[in-house]
Each structure stands twice: as C-alpha cells, then as structure tokens.
C-alpha cells in the first residue's frame, strides 16, 4: 500500500485529535505528501482566507515512500496558504521527523483552528494529544527540542518546532526538525505560530509495512540507489561538496545574483564556496566543514556539518555556537553572502545558525537584507533607522540584523516582513527581488533564462525547487540546453515542474533528480503502492497537481500579471560574464509557456485542460 491509510485531524480550537481514514480514491489521483495534502487543503479551505487567521489550515504530510528504504525516503511536506505570498505554500523537509511520523502510523496531520494558548502536539503511535506549551513559548528551536526530549524521557522522540521567528510573525518563518532540517520557505512556520502551535513531538514504533510487492520493491530501490551512486553529481559531487559545489560554477556562468541583483558575479564567491569550507583556517588550523551527513534513508548525503571559527567576532564568548551543527548549503551561502556582498564565510555560518536556531528562511532573510542594504546605499534608509551601518559587504550588519530578526526587535521587525513590504514601505517597490512576494534563490534569470520562467510561474512564489532547469541549462541533466536563450524553455520548465510535483508527492528528495528521472522512481512506486503506477499515470498526476495549485492561486486572486519578474531583470542587462548584455526574456517565454500548459492568455487553465486532467 505505501500509505498508512490514516489521517490525524487536530482541532486546535477545541483541543481534539481524531483519526480518520485516508481517502484512497484521492491517493490514486494525487499520490501523497505535496499532491494529496494540497488536494485535501484546497477542498477544505477558502482560497481567499487570511493566511494568519484561524480559518487557514496547516497540513504535515508524508509520501508513500516515506519511511521505506527507497533512497532519500524520509521526506515530509507542510502545506498551507502562505503569509509571505498569499499563494499556496508547500515546504518540504528531510531529517528524521517525516519517517517517524509515518512509523507512528500517520500519512498526514491536519491542523485546523487556533489554540487559545500555546500547545504542542504529542504523538506516540496511535495516541495523539495536545499538551500545554507555555514553558516552550519564547524558546528557540534548539531549546524546545531539548526540553521535549528531556520531559518525555525519550531521546528517540523526533521534534519539529518553530522558534521565536514563528512566534513573532516573521513572514518567512520556517518549521525546523532535527535541529537543522527545515520546511523553510513561504512562512509555513508563521502560520504554525499564528495557531499557537509550538511543536510536534512524535515517536513511532509501528514501522512502514504493507509494501505491495516487497521483493520487487527491494530490487527497484536497490537499482535506483545504484543509479545515484554511479552518477557524478549524486555519487561524488554532492557528498563531497554539498550543494555548495555550485558556488564557483554559477559565478563563472555570470548567474550569481550579487548585491540585490545589481551584479551577476561576486568577486568573493571563492571565499564562501564549498572549496573554502574544506580549507584549513589560519586561526585554528581546522577546516570549517566537519563532515557530510544524510537525512533519513538518503544514500547521497549532501548535508553539511560545520564548526564555526570560535575566534570569529560573531561567536566570541558564545560557546553555545561552537559545536558542530548544520552548515551552509548553496542557497543559504548565496543569500547570506553574495546577495549582500558579504564574503566572510564564518559570518555566513553564524547567520545560518541563527536561522536554524530561531526558525526562519535564510533565502528570504538574506535577500531582504540585500534590498535593505541597497536602500541604505541609496540614502533612503539611515544608520539610525537600521541600528547599524549597513553597506553592501558588511558582515557586522549581517550578524547583528540576523539576531534582531530572530528576536523580533528594532529594524529586525521590518526585515521580518520580507523585501516586498520593505521596499514598498520606503517607496522603491521595484527593488524587491521577488515573485509573488517571495524572494529569489541563487540563480540569476539573465544568465539562466529558463530559471526566470520557472520563478515567474512557480506556484509558491520565486523558488528553485519547483522547476529546477539549472539541471539542464547548467549541468546537462537530462540533456544540455543553452542557458542564454529562451527557445525551448517553456516546454523544459513545464516538464521539470510536472516531474517535480511527482517527486515531492512520493516521499523522496528532489535532489535525486540530478540522477533519477521519473523512470527511476516509477518502479519503486509501482512496487510499493496499491494500484498500477505507470509512467503515463505519474505524468498525469504531476500535471494535475500543478494545475490544482494554479487554480487555488487564481481563485486567491493571482493573475497573469503576477507571473512576472522585477523590472531590474528585464531592463538592466547583466554587466559581466557570459550573459553580459542580456536581460531576461520572460515576456517572450511566458505566452509560450501558457500555450504549452493549455492555459489561456490570462494564465487560466482551459476547460479542455481541466477535463484532460480530471480537475
């Protein structure tokens, strides 16, 4: 079966936890995790709902392969309406929490309403109850996890929680599990905080059983693992260098957005790269990187475990930060570094630790800080307003403002609202490097044209994980396309978006797609899950999920006008590198994309498209 067939419905207003059977007919159409939970969500929630009101819901969902030995089979997703964007929000995390939720016997947990006072949900297999969290409110993610493990007298309990950012209304607060794995984007943690839900603690001893054909599944999983091991990216690049392997590559391509996208190459890229993380520091003779690490079931192990330089100004006399902890991934290193022009690796790591400790998205935070630094350089924001001199490149400003955002004090409160609101407030809305209110990740749309279209049309606002055409345009996976041209990108983006929808709904990590195509995932799903899971069916499921999310956003009030990039990327050509002189060709690609999708000129799926997808 792959599914546990059980849904836990938690009414935070009434304080009740009820078990209900999973709708298996829907599971056949939407698979699990992202797809299935979004289907539940759009069926139950008004698209116009205020994201931070009690009427919004929040769903934590596993996929059919979560908790199985399928490589990377430990994922879970959080689905809600996002406060940063007002669009569907769906954030995916690894670590061990998702598998534990599955082992406890639950496909998903639906939170509805709002608790009067802070609570956390405790799950021990079938037993689920809301418990008082007064003693946890105001605590960081790291403190919360420690306190829960101690009070449960169970070091094996797995915890996801929000930090102070989620309590304080930082609009891009995330939910952190296992200390440093994050459902990071779109403010899913903000919604959790708005419901007075501090944490979920889960212990599962039932395991994941009921695989349709265990023998075939073990063979399919083993075959697919071999594909990952034999691939240069997933077998060598990612375990050795992590996603940070991209820093120098993307910089060379002239697609590393720098200083709020003013530039496309960063002179200090090498100093914040994977290579730099492995070099011995002069201060203590040790490398920044301690080791790599895997999430549950993952045979790639791209995770970084780092130790900060104890002599760095950010952590002098702060031994709490000296231990090994989650290190910089590419997107975080870019956002906290190049986006602000900061080339101090240790300062980036400190800001990254703060993001993990208090639960907020380093991409949106770093990019918002980049916008604030530009406003400072333009003389619109002053030292007095910000609380510190904040020119591009200031590691001191990065460190101090990360702390202020975590604590919800001073100018940190303004940074916590994201770049769209910040730039609008100070009369420069065009300086927000975002789509639908969510900040760009680490690829410039002028140097990698397909990503511009992927950002503009992503259902959760600017995002690299909804259609990662970098794989094709940069790495040649599955085929190499020219990053500087717009031709063919509409179809490419659609194909990536639809396939990713399936991966995100299966319980596995999207990083497998550096090596896997749907053809590698399909035999695993078909052997594990009840019913027949053919390539044709999966392709349809992926497209169905994408269009379902689109319909929700359209009903929420988004239109074709929102599928756009900031003027800077359309009018200010790249200054250096291979893309020099180019702007984004989004206006050319967008109509081609709508056509490829079977949508009308307003970005609305046609009747024929909806009928074909069973929507």
């Amino acid at each position: 079966m792959g599914w546990t067939r059980k849904v836990l419905r938690v009414d935070l207003g009434k304080g009740t936890c009820k078990s209900e059977p999973l709708n298996m007919a829907l599971a056949q159409q939407y698979l699990g995790q992202r797809g299935l939970a979004t289907k539940y969500f759009v069926d139950e929630v008004d698209p116009k709902v205020d994201p931070l009101s009690a009427a919004n819901k929040l769903i934590m969902a596993t996929g059919p392969l979560t908790g199985t030995p399928a490589s990377t089979g430990g994922r879970y997703s959080v689905i809600t309406k996002g406060p940063l964007t007002g669009a569907i929000a769906c954030s995916n995390s690894g670590g061990y929490f998702g598998a534990e939720l599955k082992f406890a016997g639950w496909d998903m947990v639906i939170f509805e309403g709002k608790s009067e006072k802070p609570v956390y949900l405790s799950i021990e297999d079938d037993k689920a109850e809301l418990r008082d969290a007064a003693h946890l409110w105001g605590k960081t993610v790291w403190q919360t996890e420690e306190i829960i493990k101690k009070s449960h007298q169970d070091p094996q309990v797995r915890v996801c929680s929000i930090g102070r950012a989620g309590e304080n209304g930082v609009l891009y607060a995330g939910i952190i599990n296992d200390l440093h794995r994050a459902a990071g984007r779109s403010g899913v943690g903000t919604v959790m905080g708005s419901k007075n839900l501090k944490a979920v603690a889960v212990r599962g001893t039932q395991g994941a059983g009921g695989i349709k054909d265990a023998k075939a599944f073990m063979k399919a999983a083993a075959d697919a693992k071999k594909v990952l091991a034999d691939n240069a990216v997933t077998g060598q690049g990612l375990p050795t260098f992590g996603t940070q392997v991209l820093m120098n590559v993307i910089n060379e391509m002239g697609a590393l957005p720098t200083r709020n996208h003013r530039d496309v190459q960063f002179e200090d890229a090498r100093k914040i790269s994977a290579e730099a993380m492995k070099e011995k520091r002069p201060s203590d003779g040790r490398a920044h990187l301690v080791t790599n690490a895997a999430c549950f079931g993952c045979t790639i192990a791209c995770g970084r475990i780092s130790k900060i330089d104890e002599t760095h100004f950010s952590v002098v006399n702060k031994p709490a930060y000296w231990g090994a902890s989650g290190g910089l991934e590419y997107e975080a290193a870019w956002a906290l570094g190049a986006a602000n022009g900061v080339g101090d690796l240790e300062a980036l790591q400190y800001a990254n630790l703060i993001c993990n400790e208090d639960g907020f998205d380093p991409i949106s935070f770093g990019a918002t800080l980049g916008a604030a630094m530009e406003l400072y350089e333009l003389g619109i924001l002053t030292k007095e307003q910000i609380g510190i001199d904040a020119p591009f490149g200031s590691a001191q400003a990065l460190v101090k403002l990360a702390e202020m955002t975590a604590q919800g004090v001073g100018f940190g409160k303004e940074l916590g609202l994201g770049s769209k609101r910040l730039c609008a407030k100070y009369g420069k809305p065009d300086l927000s490097m975002s789509v639908k209110g969510q900040e760009f990740p680490a690829y410039d749309s002028r140097g990698i044209q397909g990503m511009g279209l992927a950002y503009a049309t992503s259902n959760r606002g600017a995002c690299h994980l909804r259609g990662y055409t970098v794989a094709s345009e940069v790495l040649g996976i599955p085929v190499k396309t020219d990053p500087l041209v717009t031709e063919g990108k509409a179809g490419l983006v659609k194909a990536f978006q639809d396939a990713t929808s399936v991966f995100d709904s299966a319980g596995v990590c999207v990083f497998t797609t550096f090596a896997w195509t749907l053809a590698d995932l399909q035999p695993q799903l078909d052997a594990a899950c009840e019913g027949e899971w053919t390539m044709e069916k999966l392709a349809l499921v992926g497209e169905r999920i994408w269009n379902m999310e689109r319909q929700f956003n359209n009903a929420a009030g988004f239109t074709a006008k929102d599928d756009d990039l900031p003027p800077r990327l359309k009018t200010e050509p790249a200054k250096t590198g291979p893309a020099k002189g180019l702007v984004s060709g989004i206006d050319k690609m967008k109509p081609e994309y709508y056509k490829a999708r079977g949508w009308d000129a307003n970005g609305v799926p046609t009747k024929e498209t909806l009928a074909r997808l069973g929507l």
Partner: protein, 158 residues
Amino acid sequence: MQKSLHIDPHKCTGCLQCEMACSFENYGVFNISKSRIKVFNFEEAGRKVPYTCTQCAEAWCLHACPVEAIKVDAATGAKVVHEATCVGCKVCTIACPFGTVNYVADTGKVQKCDLCGGDPACVSACPTGAITYVDSDWTGLDKMRSWAGKTDTQPRAG
C-alpha cells in the same frame, strides 16, 4: 574463516538504511524501533556511530541466561537467541556490558544481532561501506593499511 561485523564510524552518514534492513530481515517490516543495530548521532561533535553486538567470545548474555536460550551458532560464531526457549526474564540485558541485547515488548522475548546467519543485512544496505563483514582475525587490516600508507614521509627526490 570466522567473520565479524566491522564498523567504521567515520564513514557513517546517519542514513539509517542499516536499521531498516535489520528490521526488514527479522520482522518483514521497515521499523527502526525494532532494529538490532542502532546509529547514534553525537550532534555537537558531528559524529555518527553505528553500534551493535560484538559477539563476545566469553558472552556474558549467554552465561547469564537461566534457560540456555542463547546459543552459539557453530557456523558464524554468533550468539543467537532461541525465541522458543527465551522466557523474557531480561537478565541477559543486565549482564551485557554494552546494552546490545534488548527486550521486545511485542514478542515478550529479547533480541540481539545474530549476524543474519552469515549474510548480515545491514552490511548489504550500508551505502558508504561503514559496516562491513570481514575476517574476524583481521578487523584491523584497513586501519593498518591506512597507517602503513603514511609511513613514507620522506620528501621525494626531484
């Protein structure tokens, strides 16, 4: 030749594929709470360490058992719990200095690593070679080779 599980924590990434393989081999379900090998995560140090029974030559668990439910498998040398005989008294869990024999509430018996009859599932499942099954007399061979490789410390001529 007798073989032993050989664990190299430096190679462990913490993926828990070994724990899933163990539970599947013994219970037909992917359930790490029933695994006989456990991976410990020393977060602050950035270390992950798989740990299981070392199959002591003088096995405390075997000697402590009042009903002789733990016997030596002649082929593998593993100390194996015979469930039909085990009465679930848990004395072996006290006797084991390493904590690698544990009680299973569901079955009312104890469980420990039995080397899967000579083909340990954890070994096949480990993606990084952190767990291997090697000649019992030469578990130090890899370490010796690694250090041997460092003996040539003289700068090469030219």
